[in-house]
Symmetry: C2
Subunit: 216 residues, 2 copies
């Protein structure tokens, strides 16, 4: 007798087969977005028959939901790790290390990042709201914890509006990672082809700009 919970059959598969399918699905969704993703291509990539896919998952949405859960798990793990690792550092150093960690994440999990980007502006993607809310929520909460700790330590100019700070950090981080990942958005800095040292230097410049402001 088998349990019925979601994806039971899939989870009973040999691990290497599970991984082949998961990788193929993630790749297809990340490359093509939800709607353009083709299940025919997916099964071809995974080296299984189409019918098999429908024994593991109820339908296209179901496959997506699985990928989605997997991606969220990876994101959460990464964020909590970075948060703990830098807990005792100065606020601006933490920002710097966080952004570096973001770049590292992007390189280790390019498919997940690509999926996240694709979903952002594509209405009608199943679970879009939930997925974005989760990712953005985690990111904001991460920044919020940094900011509050910084305020407690007096590392921030008193009286700065917290919401505005969070917004600015979020905007800068997201855009920075986007520029690294998407050449077409990388107009101002040359991030896409840059060496790690150059990227690090840009990060330092940006953080310092945030820190000291633009005013004469």
């Amino acid at each position: 007798m088998r349990e019925e919970p979601p994806f039971a059959t899939f989870r009973h598969l040999p691990p290497d087969k599970q991984e082949r399918v998961l990788t193929a699905a993630l790749a297809e969704f990340a490359d093509q977005g939800y709607h353009q993703a083709s299940l025919n291509r997916m099964v071809a990539r995974a080296g299984i028959a189409k019918g098999s896919l429908y024994q593991y998952f109820p339908n296209k949405e179901g496959i997506f939901a699985y990928i989605f859960q997997y991606a969220l798990k990876v994101v959460r793990r990464t964020l909590t790790t970075v948060k703990e690792e830098t807990l005792e550092e100065n606020f601006f150093v933490r920002l710097e290390k966080s952004l570096l960690a973001g770049v590292r994440f992007l390189r280790e999990h390019p498919r997940i990042f690509s999926l996240y980007l694709k979903i952002q502006f594509d209405r009608n993607v199943p679970f879009r709201e939930a997925f974005l809310a989760a990712v953005r929520g985690h990111a904001t909460e991460y920044f919020a914890s940094l900011v509050r700790r910084a305020q407690g330590r007096g590392e921030l100019r008193p009286g700065v509006p917290e919401a505005a700070v969070l917004f600015l950090l979020d905007a800068m981080f997201d855009r920075f990672l986007q520029a690294v990942a998407v050449p077409a958005l990388d107009v101002t800095l040359g991030l896409h082809q840059a060496t790690d040292a150059a990227i690090h230097q840009h990060i330092r410049e940006l953080i310092s700009l945030l820190k000291e402001g633009l005013m004469a």
Copy 2:
């Protein structure tokens, strides 16, 4: 005898029909993105026969190219107008007015903005590189002209790295408009439902943050 240049037949149509088709096409592409856009829906929206569409345009790409040119024209017009209108103001005031103008643009041309967003992360969209390069190029050049003028007037802290400033401005502006347009990205500020006054207030806070920095 008719000239052969692109879209000749289409341009000879009665203006109201041209507009119906253009509106329907823009709406369909903006709502659905390039690939999900359906020509069947498009002709239904426009109230013409499918065959007619293929007398105006060579194919789906051709329709998209037309929309694309139209959108770029509107963007360019808006940017040059704002640039001229604020030429004599202080740098930070110019930033504030520019961001307000961005919000105004977004409200007047939501379809164009939506199209721009959809294209950003969807590879395989025809002319994507060209379109993004054009829009981002115009925006960056706009900011660059503001920054250079500000430097000339001594309104900027000396020694700030120009590329980093441009990046930061670009990131903040883009994200701000995205937050106004896309509820799911509007986690930190409550922009989507905000009144104009509240939006203006947020803009002032953000600019002031940029100006004075975060440091204690």
